[in-house]
Subunit: 277 residues, 2 copies
């Protein structure tokens, strides 16, 4: 584990760390904010999964989470969105390959060699930070994410009952099996068998009986991807039919950018903090 | 005036605008945040001058000012730090040339052709935004800045008595005539006559009788430039001798980065807002 930076920020420590990942067989970089409360005792952990084209750096620079995390005593973990580096498969377009790992373990060649972000974010990374940062209370976790990372947060939480007390998402892809981004990525990474896709589709998981204890989703009303890629109405219907409580808000005028994420970040973190206490 | 982007953020509008500058004879790009209160009436304006190597984008992405500005009803204006583009003089090193305009009107060739940031930030830009955005209350202005931009904020305020109700700075260069960054830049831009430098040296201006109504400065205790380039003790001594009230704080452990700026941004904006009411 190589600490690339460790900077005092809002009273806490903003770390950026690179390590050799077993899951992806590449170096991986993530950021971790430790609030000031971590100096004195255990703190809950919020994991944030980023969207297409992003690295750990987008939310670390533009997410505006540190002030709230410092006030609320939350640690904030932000992994990369795909493996990177020499020899890692890539393709034309920003919706597949580098920056577009979709939080799955690819089964198809050439992706299966490195695109194992599911194993990375569900197993390897939490085990690493738990071992290296004893101040993290791994019994008090929440998860959130943006766009493709909202998809990641929802599916990771739905498939790990008991691990997360709350899950939220900013403009998530809720039904990748039914939208162009997801259909393209899953075809390449998981192959043509659509049954295999259901394990990575939040709407399908809820239809199949998976539940989370608390679920909050915000989408921007002026998000250009709303109708074609995000389709929050599919999540709303699935939750309604399943009796899964969902706090869904459409925020008029907001787009898909970090201006939207940062505007509602404080709300989401306060909501998680209530459930993590 | 070309509006590059106009995005809803924290309830207000984050604009990025490019225009042809008469002062610099180049296109110039700036960002302007209009808080939600600007929809209903006049709002005070805080101008933020950035540091070496920066454009408008650094503080716009990483300054974390929008939440506070939206709460307090402040507009926030962030110009670039130098002219840019084809034919604009540059030199080796990041402490002179592009990104290093030092908020002066250069008198020496080749810099004098475009490096006229003093005229740009004191005359042209305020006139432009006042004309284009009637919601800005130009009678209620404050100014702040970071590093080289802290130098800019101090000197602009000291030489425009009555224009700014308050001036603050994050890790400012307070005495450019006495430190390597300033000596290098002023030699190139203003020539060898050190008397001409005094008009752009906050400590010299205070020694010469200039005053501001309210002055607040924060510096990071772990700032690597503290002892050699920033030298806040020189400002402290000049203010003490001159009877200029100064609220100076050294923040233990903070560096020179936007982690420092963003941590104390909310404090500075609240302090300005009190004086702008």
């Amino acid at each position: 584990m190589q600490v690339g930076s460790d900077i005092l920020s809002h009273g806490g420590r903003q770390l950026v760390i690179t390590h050799d990942s077993t899951a992806t067989a590449t170096p991986m970089t993530f950021s971790l904010f430790l609030p000031p409360q971590a100096e004195r005792g255990a703190v809950p952990l919020v994991t944030y999964l980023s969207g297409l084209t992003c690295t750990h750096a987008n939310v670390t620079d533009k997410g505006e989470y540190r002030r709230s995390c410092a006030e609320l005593g939350l640690a904030f973990l932000a992994p990369d969105t795909s493996p990177r580096g020499e020899g890692v498969a890539d393709a034309e377009g920003w919706d597949i390959g580098l920056g577009a790992g979709f939080y799955i373990d690819a089964t198809e060649m050439p992706w299966s060699a490195n695109y194992r972000m599911w194993s990375y974010v569900t197993d390897e990374l939490p085990a690493l930070v738990a071992a290296e940062f004893p101040a993290l209370d791994m019994g008090a976790q929440a998860i959130t994410g943006h766009s493709m990372g909202g998809h990641g947060a929802l599916t990771v939480a739905l498939r790990h009952p008991g691990r997360f007390r709350s899950v939220s998402a900013f403009a998530p892809i809720v039904a990748p099996s039914q939208v162009p981004w997801g259909e393209k990525a899953f075809s390449h990474y998981l192959g043509a068998d659509r049954d295999a896709w259901r394990a990575h589709d939040a709407v399908a998981l809820i239809e199949g009986g998976a539940r989370v204890p608390a679920l909050k989703v915000d989408v921007g009303g002026a998000d250009p991807f709303l109708e074609r890629e995000l389709r929050p109405e599919l999540l709303e219907a699935a939750c309604h039919n399943a009796g899964q409580r969902l706090e869904l808000a459409v925020r008029p005028g907001y787009d898909h950018s970090y201006h939207f994420v940062s505007t509602f970040m404080a709300d989401h973190l306060a909501w998680h903090a209530e459930r993590l206490r």
